[in-house]
Amino acid sequence: MNENINKLREEVWLELEKIADLEALEKFRVKYLGKKGAITALLRSMGSLPKEERPLFGKAVNELSTEVEEKLEEKEAQLMEAKRARQLAEEALDVTLPGRAPRLGHRHPLKQVMEEIEEIFLNMGYTIADGREVEDDFHNFEALNIPKDHPSRDMQDTFWISSDTLIRTHTSSVQSRVMEKQDPPVRIIAPGRVYRCDDDVTHSPMFHQVEGLVVDKGITFGDLKWTLTVFIKALFGQERQVRFRPSYFPFTEPSCEVDVSCFVCNGKGCRLCKNTGWIEILGAGMVHPNVLKIAGYDTKVYTGFAFGLGIERIAMLRYGIDDIRLFYESDMRFLSQF
């Protein structure tokens, strides 16, 4: 009888070897371990054996049965794994195909620069003031110590609405508006649109400025220097040099212009800085006492400084843009670069 078992064992192993899929494996299970299976049949045939042989035979068949079950499980696991691997292989993607990205929106380069400047001053405790764009002569000129017939009105070719109203030529008009409304201390910046009758590659009839104004007890020119140095280094890099040159604005005295060492040539001289090593960034100065007086501030107690800069200029320098009109043309080929 043991021969039968051994023979069956050999047959089983041979067949199991050949099985390659789960379906065949199931058939195999039925064939040998099913109710009508060969091993089951062997067990059943035990009744026909002499009583004394039965235990031994039974044990041998059971052993075979367990053995087959174990092998079968093993095989099943193998096949399952192979099947899963095949499945995964079939699911493989071309990971180099482009992703489904949402459409990219772009912030305007001028707004990016403007917000960057705003952040620097917000961190220094400034408030952002808003001002009118359509202004009267008083707030745009007179209150800033620019009476009628003042030569510096020529520097700012004005768009007039009527003999007394205009669209502001500079954000400095916010100075007079803020001081009219508020008592010192004042610590504001005022970004926004300004307008001048000028239209070429470097001038636009509409452009943007940021004005700054600080008025308090004991504000000095040294305070102005510290503030603007911190600002310029924050904007252009800590390694930059800052230079202050005396200049003239009707609403400040002393006045200065502030240059940053050229960030292309590091001050050696190049086209961008016209071989001077310096790039002019902003105008500033101590608020003229006439301006403080018009605002009703006590000039014996309060001093202040003011500054102003052009956003387009900064953006053009930073991105190497040579035609100012690109900013307002709304061409996606331009906008999508920022």
């Binding site: 195909l97 482009p98 489904r100 990205a101 949402p102 459409r103 990219l104 929106g105 772009h106 912030r107 305007h108 001028l110 707004k111 917000l122 400034y126 009118r132 764009e133 359509v134 017939d149 030569p151 020529d154 768009f159 007039w160 609405i161 109203t165 669209i167 610590r187 649109r193 307008y195 009758c197 009839p205 509409m206 308090d216 007890k217 004991g218 504000i219 000095t220 020119f221 040294g222 305070d223 220097k225 510290w226 503030t227 230079r243 202050f244 040159r245 005396p246 200049s247 003239y248 005295e253 002393p254 016209k274 101590m286 900013f327 307002y328 709304s330 061409d331 080929r333 906008l335 999508s336």
Partner: protein, 787 residues
């Protein structure tokens, strides 16, 4: 202001080179804008004397010259039309290289040997375009063989300075020399004119009457007889060229030279063309006419300042002379005007007439009346010397000018306090004295007398500026501003503006900045009358916009025409609305957005067209971000599709609209919205209070409703919410169907409903009850539940 350094050195000693001077003057307030050199320096450039001219044997247009160049006589072939025997001309000898790279070498020209080249001003870089070669003067002792580079100062440096409008005194060589002297501690050498007057008295032939006494504080003139019109001396021409002016003739050149030297504009009249020899300085009558030197007939307005004689206007004071009294070949006597005019008057007139000149740009900044006599004498001296003139004795003057002393009181501590310095009083006094002020001190107090050439110094702060610029701005120590910081950060409006911009950019909209002004035509149909610009650059920029629509539409069109049809834009900017009874218009911050073309496509999904709901979805998204819920109601708006436009409101107030731009206006559909930004700040101040999460399960039911097409979805949604009871916590529309299955004129709307209680698990019968109520409610709108 172009300053030839060699000229500057006439008035001050300095051994600094141009670069150093440029830097030093920049640091003290005269910004150097560039350094260039005069003309082109050329090797082997000498004076040649043309001894003989012969015809070229083989060429009609060429001549063969024998030219004495000092050490030898060389043969030079030239095509110049203006050569004559006996002329002195610049000659480049072989071995030199011209500025344009031309190498000069001995060569044969049509078979005749030539050993050099005769030069024009153009080749020496002294003018743009020359007709013939440069002829050097005979009577100035110029010798053949002399170095022309030296003679014409070729290659000498010229520094261009940007002079600020408060410093008209620096618009002259003397003024700039004074600045150099201050920096270098060197004295200024003012010209001291010496005039040998003839016995004839100016006062016998000329009378000056200043009628407009406010506008002309001082009017002086000298009379010079027997002037001979001709070229000015070579050195003067060279200096004028270097300073950026074109030499014309000796008389014009001398007035220009003195203006550049001293800063005082002068004018020369033909004295014999002045009726009765009387100069009248008066205001023009309305519609008086004057033909100015540029040949233009100018209609004058009342109040413009005129120089006239008893019969007619002669010149626009301080701006430009008139043709009738112009200097000509036949001029025998010159009346030389040196005057001081009111700056405001000159500025107004010059602007009104659109006429600016070197003179007016100086007068309108305010000149020192003390310059008047010095300049008149200096010009008289030069006219005597270089135009053969005889100067009548005396100067005829009128005007109310009186030298008055400007005194400014300040203290050393004020100056230190303003600048953030701790200078000794003596240091401050030293600096102020250096710049030419007279300082008396008494304790901390300083009493400062201001000389007339510094009309800009009026107040204490002006003195502080002098100290600052001479001490050096870079030497002032930086200091952190003291005082409390009272910042409140961004305002609500600023916060909303930033959120809108960032969120829109993050969902694919690109930010625009477009002009606030446009042509009135582009606002056509939109409500409200725009604010008009009185002096626009063009009709395209004539009015301020009352809506962002035209600008955004134009942006879409611009890109469409450049084959970028799929665009999503936004702009946050002001519109300008005339407000009744107010001088200034209302400025309202708006959000505008435009959407056109296709959605984003992918490699496996062809992009569909954008539509109304894409833009509306973006707006609702912004609303959610800002904790706001917008209401939409169908509306008719100008320039919008009549069936595809909705008013957008917040808390019952219409704040804008959204829709498709009228298809008559666009090639392909463009969707647009415009809403006010200010109302959107409301959600920011809302305090968020957390609500507990219920542990009882939610029950989901989908329902489909079929009914008339015309009923807006919003009405059904509201009906469902109203009828659904307090446990109905969410209603989502997830499908819209129209078609044969529901019948013509009908639509099917499918909603996902969610019911939930915070106290218990809901029973089926409760849900069924709610659905029954909903069914009844929608039935009122002729909608039935669809199985």
């Amino acid at each position: 202001m172009r300053v030839p350094i060699e000229w500057l050195k006439d008035y001050v000693d300095t051994d600094k080179d141009a670069e150093t001077l440029a830097d030093l003057l920049t640091k003290t307030g005269s910004e150097a804008e560039g350094i260039e050199v005069l003309g082109n320096r050329v090797e082997n450039l000498v004076v040649g004397l043309i001894e003989r001219i012969e015809k070229h044997p083989n060429a009609d247009r060429l001549v063969v010259c024998q030219v004495n160049v000092g050490s030898e006589t060389v043969q030079i072939v030239t095509g110049a039309p203006n050569v004559e025997e006996g002329m002195l001309v610049p000659v480049v000898l072989p071995g030199a290289v011209l500025a344009d790279g031309t190498k000069i070498k001995a060569a044969k020209l049509r078979g005749v040997e030539s050993f050099g080249m005769l030069c024009s001003k153009e080749e020496l870089g002294l003018e743009e375009k020359s007709e013939g070669i440069l002829v050097l003067p005979q009577d100035e002792g110029i010798q053949p063989g002399q170095d022309v580079n030296e003679l014409l100062k070729l290659g000498s440096p010229i520094v261009s300075f940007g002079i600020t409008p408060n410093r008209p005194d620096c618009l002259s060589m003397v003024g700039m020399a004074r600045e150099v002297g201050i920096i270098e501690g060197k004295p200024l050498r003012l010209p001291r004119p010496e005039v040998s007057e003839v016995p004839s008295k100016a006062a016998d032939v000329v009378k000056v009457t200043v009628k407009a006494r406010d506008l002309c504080p001082r009017y002086a003139c000298r009379v010079i007889e027997d002037v001979k019109l001709g070229p000015s001396p070579l050195w003067m021409q060279q200096r004028l060229i270097a300073a950026g002016m074109r030499p014309i003739n000796n008389i014009v050149d001398i007035t220009n030279y003195v203006m550049l030297e001293l800063g005082q504009p002068l004018h020369a009249f033909d004295a014999d063309k002045i009726a009765e020899g009387e100069i009248i300085v008066r205001e023009a009558e309305e519609n008086e006419v004057l033909k100015t030197l540029d040949g233009v007939e100018r209609k004058l307005e009342k109040g413009m300042l005129l120089i006239a004689d008893p019969t007619q206007p002669l010149a626009l004071a301080g701006i430009m002379g008139g043709e009738s009294s112009e200097i000509t070949e036949s001029t025998k006597r010159v009346l030389l005007e040196s005057a001081n005019f009111n700056r405001g008057s000159i500025r107004r007139t010059s602007r009104k007439l659109g006429l600016r000149s070197e003179a007016s740009s100086r007068f309108e900044k305010g000149l020192d009346p003390e310059l008047v006599f010095l300049a008149a004498d200096r010009a008289a001296e030069l006219l005597e010397k270089y135009a053969g003139g005889k100067v009548y004795s005396g100067t005829v003057v009128d005007g109310d000018y009186e030298a008055k002393e400007t005194v400014v009181e300040t203290t050393a501590s004020f100056i230190n306090r303003l600048l953030g310095l701790e200078l000794e009083k003596s240091q401050i006094v030293e600096i102020l004295t250096k710049v030419g002020l007279e300082v008396a001190s008494n304790g901390d107090a300083l009493t400062v007398k201001v000389p007339s050439f510094r009309q800009d110094i009026e107040q204490e702060v002006d003195l502080a500026e002098e100290v600052a610029r001479i001490y050096g701005l870079d030497n002032i120590p930086d200091s952190i501003p003291k005082g409390e910081i009272a910042s409140s950060g961004l305002t609500q409006l600023q916060k909303v503006e930033r959120i809108l911009a960032r969120e829109l950019a993050s969902i694919g909209y690109s930010e625009l900045i477009t002009y606030s002004f446009l042509s009135e035509k582009r606002l056509e149909g939109l409500p409200g009358e725009p604010v008009r610009i009185a002096n626009p650059l063009s009709e395209e920029q004539a009015v301020l916009r009352t809506s962002l629509l035209p600008s955004l539409l134009k942006a879409v069109e611009t890109n469409y025409n450049r084959l970028q049809k799929d665009v999503a834009f936004f702009e946050i900017a002001k519109i300008y609305l005339k407000s009744e009874g107010q001088a200034l218009p209302e400025e309202k911050l708006m959000l505008g957005a435009a959407l056109a073309g296709k959605k984003q496509g992918y490699f496996d999904a062809a992009p569909g067209d954008v539509d109304f709901y894409d833009l509306k979805g973006a707006l609702d998204y912004l609303g959610s971000r800002l904790r706001l819920t917008f209401d939409y109601a169908p509306s008719q708006r100008p320039r919008m599709h009549p069936g595809r436009c909705a008013d957008v409101s917040l808390d019952g107030r219409v704040i804008g609209y959204i829709g498709q731009i009228h298809p008559d206006e666009t090639e392909e559909p463009v969707y647009f919205l415009e809403i006010e930004v200010e109302p959107l700040t409301k959600g920011l101040s809302e305090v968020v209070v957390y609500k507990g999460l219920t542990r009882f399960p939610a029950v989901f039911r989908d329902i489909a409703l079929v009914g008339p097409m015309a009923v807006p979805a919003k009405e059904l949604t509201e009906a469902i919410i109203n009828a659904g009871g307090r446990h109905l916590v969410s209603v989502e529309l997830f499908d819209l169907y129209t078609g044969p299955q529901v019948g013509e004129g009908k639509k099917s709307l499918a909603y996902a409903l969610m019911f939930q209680s915070e106290e218990r698990t809901l029973t089926d019968s409760e849900i069924d009850e709610a659905l029954k109520n909903i069914q009844a409610k929608v039935a009122e709108k002729d909608f039935i539940f669809r199985a």
